[in-house]
Each structure stands twice: as C-alpha cells, then as structure tokens.
Amino acid sequence: MRKFLNLAIAFFVLVLLIGGKALAISPKNYIIIGTTDKISSLDPAKGYDYLSCNILQNIMEGLVKYVPGTTKIVPGLAKSWKISKDGLVYTFYLKKGLKFSNGDPINAKVFKFSIDRVIKLKQDPSFLLSDVVKKVEVVNDTEFKIYLKYPFAPFINILAFTVSYPVDPKVYSKDKVYNGIPVASGPYMVKKWVRGQQIELVRNPYYSGKKAKTPIILVKLYRNANTLYIALLNGEIDVAYRTLLPQQFAKIQKNKHFISMVGPSPFIREIVFNVKYKPFNNRKIREAIAYAVDRKQIVKDVFNNQVTPLYTLIPKGMWGHKPVMPHHNIKKAEEILKSLGYSKSNPLKITLWYSPSHYGSTEAALALTIKNQLEKTGLVKCQLKSAEWATYVDYWNKGIMGMFLLGWYPDYFDPDDYMWPFLASSASNGMGSFYSNKKVDELLLKARKVVDKKERAKIYYQVQEIMAKDVPYVPLFQGKQRVVAKPNIKGLLLDPVQIFRYYLLYKK
C-alpha cells in the first residue's frame, strides 16, 4: 500500500514537472471566446435566443447581409434582387456555384425548401416568415420569387436574419427540427459541439465570401458571470462577450492586461403590464407607476451607468424613435394615486415579478430598485416575486403575472420589430400584455405597407404617443454591448445590429 502510494506521488510529480506543453495547434490559429449565454438550437427554424442566432450568423449566410458595423443591407448569397412595384413580389438572383460546407449545392430549390420548412415547423421564429410570406416559386437554378401576403417594408431585413438562412435539404428533414451538427453556408462551420460546454468552429472551405481571419474559434459556455470572470482573469479565454457583471466590467476596464470596448445595443428592457389584470386594468394606475419609476437611478445604481435610460420602446439611434414616456415625477405619481383613493393607511398593493437569472445577475437588484421607487410614494406596497425562466414564460402566457420585467432583442432591425410584437392585438398576448387598441392596429398595419421611411416614421410617432397615453409598458433602459479581450486580439467589432462577428477576429 505504502509503496504504491509513494509510486503514485512520484509519478504525479514527475508528470507535472517534465514535458512542456507540446500543443499540436499554434495558439495563433485559434481564439477562445467565453460567454454566459446558452445555445438552444442551431436549426435556423428554431434558434431564437442570442447565442444560437449569433453562432448561426457566423456559420451561415442569407440572401442578404449587413455591412459590418452598419445597418446597411448588401447582397449575401444573392447576387441581386428586384422588388415589384406593388411590393408584393421579391425576385432573387443567386450567385453561381454556391455550396454548403459538405459540398452540396445551394440553389433556388434550397431556398424554397428552407422557407417552406420554417413555416411548416412553426417554431419560435417562424412567425417572422409565416406572417408575411404567401409562397416561394422557383424559376430556375439561380432565380426564385417570394410572394408576400401584403407589402411589408422591413421584409428585406427579415431575410438577413437567421430564420431565413438556407439549410441543406439532404440533411435537414422537412418536418422535424434538426439537432445534429449544422451544415454551414457562412465563413465558419461547426467541427465539434459539446452541448452545454463548448463549440468549435473551423473555416468553411466552400464559403464563397471573404475567408475568416482565424482558422479556429472556440466558444466556451460558462455558468455565470463569476465563472466567466475568473476564467478571463486566469487567461483561459481570449475574449469575454456577454455578460460580465457591471462591477466586474468596471474593474476590468482599469486592468491593463485587458482591452475593453463598449458599443451600442438594440436590446431594451421594460416593465410589462397585463392590462386585463387587476388593478393594472386601470390605465391611471399604470400611469402612476410610469411616473414613479426613476430610470436615471436604475442606470446609476444597478448598472454602473453601463446602460442608458429609454423613454419609448424604439431604441435611441433607430429612426422612428420618439421619447414619449413621462419622466420621473413622484409628485405626479402621488397625485394620481391619491385621486384614486389610495392613502398611507390604504396603499395600493401590487406584485412585481422578475426572473432571477435570464437577464443576468443584476435582475434581483433591478426589481428591488423599482420596488423601492414605487414605495417611495408612500402610497404603494410592492411585493417582489420571482420565477425561473421556463416557469416565467408559462406564467405570462397564462396571464398569471400582472406586472413583470421583460426584455427584447430585435429579430430584424426596423421599428416595426419594436412596435408590432408589443402593441398589435394579434401579438401582444405573446408578450403577456394582452393590450389591444384598434387605432394602433390600423396604424401598425399601415406602417408595414408604406415604403417611404419618413412616412413610416410619422406613423410610428403617432403609435408611440398613444402608447404613452395607454401605458401598457414602461420602457426602462437600452443596453450596451460590452466586450473584454486580451490586448493581442484584433478585429473586435460591436455593431449596431449586435452580430458579434467571429470571422473578423484575429490574434497579433
């Protein structure tokens, strides 16, 4: 026993001492990205959360794409396209000789298959296509037409989103979500995917566009901000993207062993009211709460000034943005509540719901801050309740929560995506608000059909005014993207549509 133990220890020490690291792959050839996000599905018909989409954006390409760093649309797999005068028919001409990462051809039939498949599978993001697409018609190998149900100005933006990416009909089944290793059409392809742990991307040899700058990208998934932070400090990852705690990021900014960047983000957060739920069915109560919320304090106390206050649903920097919501005014809030008969002895009793981890580790602090702000009026008694994400989703769908915190990432970069899902009667139940206003429905539909941007902006101004009056939501703030990296990492780009482009990264 003793001998064996000694032997084991000697062996252990020996192994630790001898032999430097004989890495088979030079560190220059790979970059490790750490994140706290999760991958839910890499099937374009299903993936709808941030990281799933972001991986897809690096391994696939659609008909059109954004110029990095801008919101400008340029041809992707399509060579060019035509839109009919009535805005109902889009004709696409594909580049010649396109191939998937397994060598299978990408042609017009593939696109028809892919779009039809998304609509048939009816997964999360399918409504983006099924709401507007009537049918797809193949003309020849490189030409096809998409017919719309009605003219829809932001349609081209939807085609740049992951849901419209082509999938290989020989691999992806027509009536089943695909769970295997994705077949790529973009700069990278997936080599190895250890679910819940990491995913390894290598260059796609058949990609027709610009070659990815680094041969291998390794995306490592961390459980929470702490584990990500420590791995970063220990030098185990090259880039940390989404999401360190605000305090951790502030600390890293002062650390000279790392570089950090802050960029705009189209991500917004808001309070949702279930307008059918007592007492939030009373517009005045919603208004009072909107007055009581102090966004500046939230931004400062909870987020270390790493987000910006937002006074409408359309983020700042996007056309159509009009800050219509009332600013913090506690007197106004008190006035309204008093006029409704609430007093110190008879306060308004409400519950604010939040989900503790889905939006990062700051969520409980955010909820608490809002609770304190409401109670500062002296006329409100606010209880906090929380539920894990899966339960949370269930609750808002069933209308169990009257007032709760939610956030939104756009599917396509257009004001429509910040208005329609929130305010249209057909969509607002998906947001747990159940808001419905005929005038708003009319205006939103009209804005979809008008092509002229200025004209559309005017309509959105109108809708936002109505929203400020009805207060089905209290927009809180707009996020910022933050990335931290080792100083030798170049090519970091935080772009306005929040596509984090792995293929531009390289090591110096």
């Binding site: 999360d124 490592k220 998934l221 269930d394």
Partner: protein
C-alpha cells in the same frame, strides 16, 4: 453470502422505486410547462397540443407514471426534449467526466481523512486533535461553490498556477478516446502532455470536493480509531513492544476501518451531490453540468433520467460496499 447479496439487492428495489416515484411526481407538481419551455412563448396552441400528445403529457398522470416505470425497467430513460437524443446515451457521454472527478475527490478525502483522523485519535486531547475537530466542523460548513471560487481565485487568478475551468486545455484532449476518463485515456495513449494537462485541470475541482467531504472522514476515522486504541489487543501489542507506528496503522487503523468503509459508501451520494456544484463552479463537463443545463430548459426526461441514474448508481455502490464489508467482516451478515 449469496443470500445476503440477494437480500441487499432485493432491499434496494423498493428504495429505487420510492425515488422514482418522488422524482416523477415532484417534477409534475412544479410550475412551468415543459412544452412551452421547449417551443417558446410564441408557439400556436395547436402545435402545443400536438407536442403534448407526442410527449404523452395529455394522458392521465397515473398512466404516464406506469409508462415511465415500464420504460425505466427496460433501460429506456426517454428522449431529451432539448436534443431529441436518448437520455441514457447522453448520460453515458457525460458520466466518465463525473466519475473521474468523484474518484479523485474521493482519493483526496480518504487520504486527508485517514491520516488526519488517525493522528488526531492518537494525539487525543492535544492541539492536533482539537485542530482536527475544528477542521471538520469548519470545512463541513463550507459551501462547495464558495470554496471552489476561493481556490480558483488563489491558485488561478492570483498565482496563475492552475487552470480554473474545464476538463482540458483547448485541443489537449486524448486521441483516441477509449474510456472518456481523460487521465486514463492519456495514459493508455501514452500522451504525456495531455495527461499533465488533464491532471492540472483535475487538481482544483477534486481538492474542492475532496476537502469538503474529508471533514466527515476525519471525524469518523478519529472516533473509530479512538475506540480501537482503547481495546485490549492494542494494549497487548504495546506490551509486546511493537513499534507505535505499527500499532497505530497496522493494528488500530485496520480494525477501525470496516465502519468507516460503510460511511465512505454512503458518502458517495453526498459526493455526487457535491459534484453537481463543483462541476458548475469549474465548468466541468459532467453529469452535474448536464443536470443544471437541463433544469433550465425544463427537460423533464433528462432531469428525471439524471436523478434516476444517480439513485441507481448510489444504490449499486452501497450494495458493493455492504458486500465488501460482509466479506471482510462476517459478523455483518447477521
């Protein structure tokens, strides 16, 4: 002996059945709809219905329960609602990493437990003994994730000695993989740099878990050795002039071991529970990480499967320990 083993196995069956039942019903009482968690909030009702039907969630709960028991008896743990893969297959992929972690942690715990415990018993009442008792209480109260974080900070962030996440450095996995236990595979393949890398990755997680678990061992070993030291055969050995070291380790410790062995078997359950937390803290790609991932997505089949897997595993270990015990010490059989 044979009948003893059979009785032990027979006794484990109701235990596993009870666990299966609890897991099944608790998961269904919890709020949160697995279908919605799977399809997302925007799924149309017709699709939700179809999915519920496909997953058998529209059947009466008792029918679901019976189906579930039948399937497990056949070794069918169901299919993950997230990946569509058989749960058992996924578990078997993750299991080697967890096994590796638990074996090394157990080694750490046993090592600390036996040495510290024996010496404390020998030096009964001295500062060493008191330190051992304080150590056990103190360490036992450490939350695993906190302790792990501290080790990560000290040995990773400050000293830069050891890696803090994962099972290996990028591109340092053994090739080919035979068992899935990296240390073993690296030895089989003769890839010494990979072995070194795997061991480095193992140190912090296994120390974390091992030290926390060792607290119980220290106490147990100490108590048992104190007991044996007071027995007459020890006095007799001393009277014959046997060396103190031999008395302590060869005579006293050996006779104190059987009850400790039983405890070690039982500790396996605690070890697996601790492994879940350790794996999460160290991004260790084992069953613990798997379980936490799937809890987040309400993957019923996977959660159920993992707990059942753990339960059966613990049951098997405890049977094994009992059998070994009975074999060493025939008195146990009666």
């Amino acid at each position: 002996m044979k009948s003893y083993i059979l009785t032990r196995i027979g006794l484990s069956i109701p235990m596993i059945l009870i666990i299966l039942t609890i897991v099944f019903f608790v998961l269904r009482v919890l709020p949160g709809n697995p279908v919605l968690a799977m399809l997302g909030p925007k799924a149309p009702p017709s699709v939700v219905k179809a999915m519920e039907h496909q997953m058998g969630l529209d059947k009466p709960i008792l029918v679901q329960y019976v189906d579930y028991l039948k399937n497990i008896a056949k070794g069918d743990f169901g299919h993950s609602t997230v990946t569509g893969m058989p749960v058992l297959k996924e578990l078997m992929q993750k299991f080697p990493a967890t096994l590796e972690l638990t074996i090394f942690s157990m080694a750490v715990a046993v090592f600390i437990g036996i040495f510290y415990g024996t010496i404390a018993a020998y030096k009964l009442g001295t500062p060493i003994d008191i330190s051992a008792r304080i150590y056990s209480i103190f360490v036992y109260s450490f939350p695993v994730f906190w302790f792990g974080l501290m080790l990560q900070l000290i040995f990773g962030v400050w000293l830069h000695w050891l890696p803090v996440s994962g099972e290996s450095s990028p591109f340092m996995t053994p090739d080919p993989i035979h068992t899935g236990i990296y240390v073993l595979d690296a030895i089989i393949n003769g890839q010494w740099d990979v072995l070194k890398d795997s061991l480095e990755h193992l140190i912090l997680p296994s120390l974390t878990l091992g030290i926390v678990i060792s607290s119980i061992f220290v106490r147990m070993v100490r108590a048992n050795v104190v007991l044996t030291l007071s027995q007459q055969f020890v006095v007799a050995a001393r009277a014959r002039g046997v060396k103190e070291k031999t008395v302590l380790f060869k005579h006293a410790l050996k006779n104190a071991l059987p009850p400790i062995l039983t405890i070690m078997g039982l500790q396996f359950a605690l070890l697996l529970g601790g492994a879940v937390l350790t794996e999460v803290t160290f991004s260790w790609p084992g069953i613990g990480s798997y379980l936490v991932n799937r809890i987040h997505s309400r993957d019923f089949a996977a959660i159920q499967g993992t707990i059942v897997f753990f339960a059966i595993f613990v049951a098997i270990i405890s049977i094994l320990v009992d059998v070994i015990n009975a074999w060493i010490n025939p008195r146990v059989r009666y």
